[in-house]
Amino acid sequence: MPHVRLAAIVLMLAVGPAWAAEDAYQIDLGPTARIEATRLSTLGRGTAEIKLDGNKLTINGKFRDMVSPATDAHLCIGYGIGTPGTCDGGDLTVTKDTGGTLSGTITLNTKELTALPAGQLYVQINSVGAPAPAGNLWGWILIAHEIPDQDVPQPGQGFLPQYDMPKSIEHGSTHPLLGNRNS
């Protein structure tokens, strides 16, 4: 029996948790946390698509409108959506300009594989004018969602991520914050 259990663990580590691979993800990049002194040096936006193949996380995206050239980009891990942490999850390739592409494939460890569907992983791009640790752009890896145009209504709540479960309410989450609405 121990061998069976070990084999199951090895298999899981090789392909990643099934529930992590089932969902499609994306990143919406925006300015990192700013104060008045850094407000004008941390502009820019971007998007990226995420592909998870086993424990291989591939990121392909674009960014634009930064005020100084990008220098480096990294996979980071916090403890929930919108909670920044440390950026030692692996390096990404980034165009050394104020706009360009972001790409890379990172092999996730067990902790990161668990962190992905829990909304704990994010990407940070640093720039000449907004270097690490604060950085220039960041974006959490969220469940794939539509980005509607300005003032175009969406049915229901549209996309509304939840702190520890990056599936929107419209995607069927049963998060306890829903209270007894369904009871």
Binding site: A33, R34, E36, P84, P161, Y163, S168, L177, G179
Partner: protein, 754 residues
């Protein structure tokens, strides 16, 4: 013009202040701290500069208030103790004055830093601080605030030559008289500021400056208030239940695209504009900065009478003075709460003052000097007002809700919104003495159930909002961040429900309470800054349901039976020197802009905002985009209230800064930061019409009818704190919005279609 100070002209009175702390300084010096790199002249110069530029937000003892961070004591050292004096200098210079950083001379910034160091217990030395002096702050400052600061800074005479930053650089900030302009005689120059805005000349006469007599005015009765004519807009948010809904349908989803401007009127500049037009019998009553009250022909825009109650606005800065969000009408009176602690009853026909009374009398120790931005609600002839600016520590006089005879102004009762140590719920503040229990302001006037004879109010969070700084432990800090149900006749508390026990992030649950019946079930609904929409039984206060309306990462769950939220673990284990993320941030997922209850479809339409912050123990905030919002700060979302089911939602870059008003014509009106006034279809959220106005569309909307024609009134203006201040920070390079332009606009259909 840069702020400057001639040290040689520092008054004798100011120097005398030095002597008052000399003994203390000597004592402190004996505490084996390192020699301080600043001198007494810098402290005094910095003190004067502080009074002129910083005090109104950061308070006269540097303890901070609202979003103005503490600049002295333990809280200050928590954030800056490990930094050097040079880093402090760089921070102050790069961030202050608000809206005009780097606008002062290096000499002035070093003076301010010297004064801040003194205020945190650093002993005065003999050498002069320079911009490059780099001494670790916690090696010279003790965190003990000296008496000359702790007891409130006092300047016997304003120093000469102090002027504010360039007027053209002025930008809205938190409320209060942030900037005082001094003349050569050392006296303030209210209402005069040279610069890019031109010479500021407010209405310079007080009293009834436009005489009038509305002879056909019909007194407003209890019956009218209980069941308002659709032609009128008799109160803040339209009816007792706070629906912000109009039964008029002449303007509807099919023809709203034809709306056109009927008239507009510039309002008094020099203060925040968040007000509500009140309409009765074709007369529109309006309050603006300087407590300017006007009666206006609602169809033509002609001013019928005007009373400048005063005091005059002190500068053109829209953050210069806060103002109330609503006046009220009862019988033949217009009821006006002011920021200066007074409640007025004006003759509705002439505008003359009939009665006046203090709701917060500065001469009474148990009342103090508080203000009102929340407006007034009137129930059965009783005018009920709340109170703001109760965050200062120590707090000798706590916030309260108080009631007055609307005919005479006589006070009837008051209810203190902070549970005192020896009273009910007194054990919810972790044993803090009464003078350390602050906050629980009431920013928005309550609603009223005439059958239950209860008035419903929300309260703000306890202060300081960080629980570690507050010292209240895990206590719920009653009656902060709660819904209160008070008996209208006695002010006695019927029940309360704490939405965020022991709140930590400046996330008030203080806004409008909306009363909705579902069959026999009577509910009260509210949405707070955390973006949680709550439903309570308004008879008992029992929790019924809740719904997340924007992304939030404060609570990990809400108990489905009790409604008690569970905080994120790191919030409970916070450290003073640690940045904590908060989504939403203090701008709030929801703020004072009220939702509309579109009764025909049981639909709540809520104006929401989407930003996050990293917040340091000292209160320093770093702003960032809300994950999942794609940079959109504005969100409008509709919910069916019986099921809490989301119906539709939309997003845009700029946040919405008016309340929503919906009509029986199935149109929802709302205005935004970027000067756009919108009309949306209540059933689908589809945009039906929009137009651009003079500056930010901000305040409350009203729908009314005169001579068979329906009109929609809306305000423009600035000022008013977080909802306007945060987008100013985030969007100032994208959005062009003049720093003036306070006005009312009234729209209607072309005559031929009516």
């Amino acid at each position: 013009m840069p702020l400057s100070l001639k040290k040689s002209t520092i008054s004798a009175a100011a120097l005398a202040t030095t002597a008052t702390f000399a003994l203390w300084a000597t004592t402190t010096a004996a505490q084996n701290r390192a020699a301080s790199p600043f001198n007494a002249a810098q402290v005094e110069a910095g003190r004067a500069v502080y009074v002129a530029n910083c005090q109104s937000c950061h308070t006269d003892n540097l303890s901070g208030s609202g979003e103005a961070v503490p600049l002295a004591g333990r809280a200050f050292l928590a954030g800056f103790g490990g930094k050097t004096t040079k880093e402090l200098f760089d921070t102050v210079k790069s961030e202050m004055p608000l809206g005009a950083p780097r606008s002062l001379s290096d000499e002035t910034y070093t003076d301010i830093v010297a004064f801040m160091l003194h205020a945190s217990g650093a002993a005065t030395g003999t050498t002069a601080l320079t911009p490059t002096t780099a001494v670790k702050i916690n090696t010279i400052a003790t965190g003990t605030v000296p008496p000359d600061v702790a007891n409130g800074i006092k300047l016997a005479q304003a120093p000469e030559g102090i002027v504010g930053p360039a007027a053209g650089a002025a930008r809205p900030g938190p409320g209060g008289n942030r900037r005082v302009i001094y003349g050569p005689d050392g006296k303030p120059l209210p209402g005069l500021l040279d610069g890019a805005l031109g010479t500021f000349r407010p209405n310079n006469n007080l009293g009834v400056i436009k005489q009038g007599n509305i002879k056909n005015y019909t007194p407003v009765t209890d019956a009218m208030l209980a069941s308002p004519s659709p032609d009128d807009w008799l109160m803040y948010r339209g009816n007792y239940a706070g629906w912000s809904y109009s039964k008029l349908d002449q303007i509807n989803a099919g023809n709203v695209g034809q709306l056109q401007l009927k008239w507009s009127l510039a309002m008094t500049e020099g203060g925040a504009n968040e007000t509500t037009p009140i309409i009765h019998d074709g007369v529109l009553f309006l309050v603006s900065a300087g407590n300017t009250v006007q009666a206006i022909n609602a169809a033509s825009g002609e001013v019928l009478w005007q009373n400048n109650i005063g005091p005059l606005p002190r500068s053109p800065d829209p953050a210069g003075d806060e103002a109330t969000r609503s006046i009220g009408v009862y019988n033949d009176k217009v009821i006006v709460p002011t920021m200066q602690g007074k409640l007025y009853g004006l003759d509705a026909r002439t505008g003359k003052v009939v009665w006046q009374n203090w709701y917060s009398d500065p001469s009474k120790p148990d009342e103090g000097q508080h203000g009102n931005t929340g407006g007034v609600s009137i129930a059965h002839g009783i005018a009920i007002v709340g109170m703001v600016n109760c965050g200062r520590i120590p707090q000798q006089n706590h916030c309260y809700i108080s009631a007055y005879d609307a005919n005479t102004g006589a006070r009837l009762w008051k209810f203190v919104t902070v549970a005192l140590k020896d009273g009910p719920q007194g054990d919810t503040w972790g044993g803090l003495p009464d003078d350390q229990r602050a906050g629980a302001e009431t920013w928005v006037a309550g609603t009223f159930d005439p059958e239950l004879n209860l008035t419903y109010w929300g309260t703000a969070q306890a202060k300081p909002w960080r629980r570690d700084l507050r010292g209240s432990g895990d206590g719920a800090t009653a009656y902060a961040n709660s819904t209160l149900a008070l008996d209208v006749n006695t002010g006695k508390l019927k029940w309360f429900f704490s939405h965020a026990p022991g709140e930590n992030f400046d996330l008030d649950d203080v806004f409008e309470r909306i009363l909705i019946d579902h069959g026999s079930q009577k509910t009260v609904m509210a949405t707070g800054k955390n973006g949680i929409m709550w439903k309570l039984d308004r008879v008992t206060g029992k929790y019924l349901d809740s719904r997340q309306t924007v992304f939030q990462n404060i609570f990990t769950k809400i108990d489905p039976k009790t409604g008690t939220p569970t905080y994120r673990k790191d919030i409970l284990n916070e450290k003073l020197d640690q940045y904590l993320p908060s989504c939403p941030g203090p701008e709030g997922g929801k703020n004072w802009q009220p939702a509309s209850y579109h009764q025909p479809d049981d639909e709540m339409i809520i104006p929401l905002s989407q930003t996050c912050v990293l917040m340091l123990g000292s209160g320093t905030e770093k702003y960032y985009d809300m994950p999942g919002a794609d940079g959109n700060m504005g969100r409008l979302a509709a919910y069916e209230t019986s099921s809490m089911k989301p119906l539709w939602s939309l997003q845009q870059r700029s946040p919405f800064l008016t309340g929503v008003v919906s009509t029986a014509g199935n149109v929802a009106f709302v205005g935004d930061f970027d000067r756009v006034f919108h009309a949306f279809d209540t059933k689908t959220g589809k945009q039906l019409w929009k137009t651009r106005l003079g500056t930010t569309v901000q305040g409350h909307i009203a729908s009314f009818m005169v001579d068979g024609k329906q009109y929609i009134a809306v305000m423009t203006g600035l000022g008013g704190g977080s909802p306007e201040q945060k987008p100013t920070f985030m969007l100032s390079e994208e959005v062009s919005r003049p720093a003036h332009g306070t006005a009312i606009y009234v729209f209607g259909l072309p005559d031929k279609t009516q």
